[in-house]
């Protein structure tokens, strides 16, 4: 009897092993050091995380908009979605949690000052945040994901974005070719996994996670609580900044350099389940157009087929 085969998924193990043997992506030395320099000591310790978390939540609150925020249904969580095979069932099971979640921003708002500036404006962040992706590209995504197909506006803003973009993309598929259209079917989690596979194969993504606005994990291939915390904080801050500037709910996208050739792209997407935050680790920044495509594809994947 084979002492191994019945105990493990041979295909998965082989895929992991082949990934480990792959040559490292070529990264210019200057790019490696640009974000942190030699004296970067790593991210804040565990003790600092609660403070960051509180700050992030406070930033997400917008007093002027709090009455307008609809009670967002909770997205299905991993185990429940699998069990029921239906996002609607999972949603109904989360109804209690959703009501608590929608109450919490208002409670937080009472504690925070209405004139408080976004945390990013107050704190010197070690993160490198692309300015071009903070507003204009985010607005494009908002147009797309809200189903208002305004191609003229999209192309106009895309062109503007590409003028601003200075950083060379180091991702393997950084061209203008659209990524594969995914006709994902089945339970929510299964569709998200298919989406993950597509962005790995088409865009060279290393790993991804998907969380909801409350930080609940829907899919996590990264298993790094700090990165998830960072993604959530940035997404919330970005959302607030966009609300202030545009006067309407909008999503934004951001990227953070997390290693010599690893960049975390944070892509918030407005969905029927509320704001979902996608974190994807790429070898380098993927640029606004690609971010828009990923957001669009994620939105299509999340929405159940009729």
């Amino acid at each position: 009897m084979d002492p191994l085969q019945p105990w493990l998924d041979a295909k998965e193990v082989r895929r992991l092993a082949e990934g480990l043997l792959a040559p490292p992506p070529e990264v210019e030395e200057a790019a490696v050091d640009a974000a942190y320099g030699q004296n970067f000591e790593g991210f804040a310790g565990e003790d600092d995380v609660p403070a960051l978390s509180k700050a992030g939540q406070a930033v997400a609150v917008d007093l002027s908009n709090k009455q307008e925020v609809p009670p967002a249904p909770q997205p299905p969580h991993e185990d429940k979605a699998e069990d029921n095979g239906s996002t609607d069932n999972a949603l109904s099971q989360q109804a209690d949690t959703a009501s608590v979640a929608t109450a919490s921003p208002a409670q937080d708002a009472e504690k925070s000052s209405p004139t408080a500036e976004p945390i990013a404006a107050k704190v010197d962040s070690p993160f490198h945040i692309s300015t071009n992706q903070n507003h204009s590209a985010a607005d494009v995504i908002a147009v797309k994901v809200n189903g208002q197909e305004d191609k003229a506006a999209v192309s106009e803003v895309s062109a503007a974005s590409s003028d601003i973009v200075k950083e060379p993309s180091t991702s393997p598929a950084a061209g203008d070719e659209p990524i594969r259209k995914l006709d994902a079917q089945g339970p929510f989690l299964s569709r998200i996994r298919q989406f993950s596979q597509v962005i790995r194969e088409d865009l060279g993504a290393k790993a991804m996670f998907l969380i909801d606005v409350n930080g609940q994990i829907l899919l996590d291939e990264v298993e790094n609580a700090k990165l998830i915390q960072v993604a959530r904080t940035l997404a919330n801050a970005s959302q607030r900044a966009n609300r202030q500037s545009a006067g309407a709910a909008a999503v934004g996208n951001l990227h953070v350099k997390i290693g010599a050739s690893s960049t975390l792209e944070v892509i918030p997407v407005d969905s029927r389940y509320g704001l979902l935050i996608l974190g994807v680790i790429f070898p380098g920044p993927i640029g606004a157009v690609r971010v828009m495509q990923v957001a669009d594809e994620l939105y299509r994947t999340i929405e159940p087929r009729r």
């Binding site: 002492p3 191994l4 493990l8 092993a17 480990l20 000591e41 790593g42 991210f43 290693g259 690893s262």
Partner: protein, 275 residues
Amino acid sequence: MGEKMLLSHCGFVTLTKIFIVLITIAITSQKGGVGKTTVSINLAHAYARMGKRTLLVDADPQGSVGLSLTRQSRSLSGFYDAIADSDFPIDQLIIPTRLETLSIVPAGRCSDYELGGGAMGVSLHRVRTFFKMAEEQGYDVCIIDTAAGLFGATADVLSACTAVVVPQQAEPLGVRSVPKMLEALTRMQIVNPRLKVCGVLMTMVQNRLTESVEAVQALRNLLPQKMVLRNVIPRDDLFVRASAKGLPVGVMEEGAGVLAIFESLRAEIDATINQ
């Protein structure tokens, strides 16, 4: 292996300095008791024997390397003291051996647990500083014996290392833990994309035990060829006797066979790193 030249540009090119780029090899596994310390000691000995200035670092808070090779290891400062205090001069941590090219840094008196161990990234900068100091001391190779599990200080070591070797006991239970180890190494490579995975090293292989031989074969069938090192470490009473005397097996009178295995393993690892 990895010599780098610094050149000046004053009208003509002049050779001003030659220094050696330190190769750092972590010996790591998810599971305990697979022979990490034995592999570390004997691999370091193999590197030192071929003339490479080798530093064997005990990054296992249990201090197994120190307990294997020195009687006073409990009272000596070591790796974790340097991690706790980055100003700790590395030359005060290094213990020379009778083999001129081999030196040891014991685990030290300050254990991982006192450093708030468990959280990855806490000591990464200091691990890098430690390696930099070792490079400045002129070492060619640094072999790091880590604690079991890929978290805490071990994760920081892997985040700063050139290469990793994963010893794995040749028995079914041990081999079944390989997927977990691969997942953990995949996460490590996200943090350190230059981390070269030299492969899984089968240890404690018992050729007379069918299950042991089958476990090795099954792993070779499962993983890509390059992922399982060609050389295997046999289970041998000699390792116990060498440990009792506080010596690498290679210096024992009857140790020629094991010495040859580690020489061959050293060459295989070198070839993988230089690919």
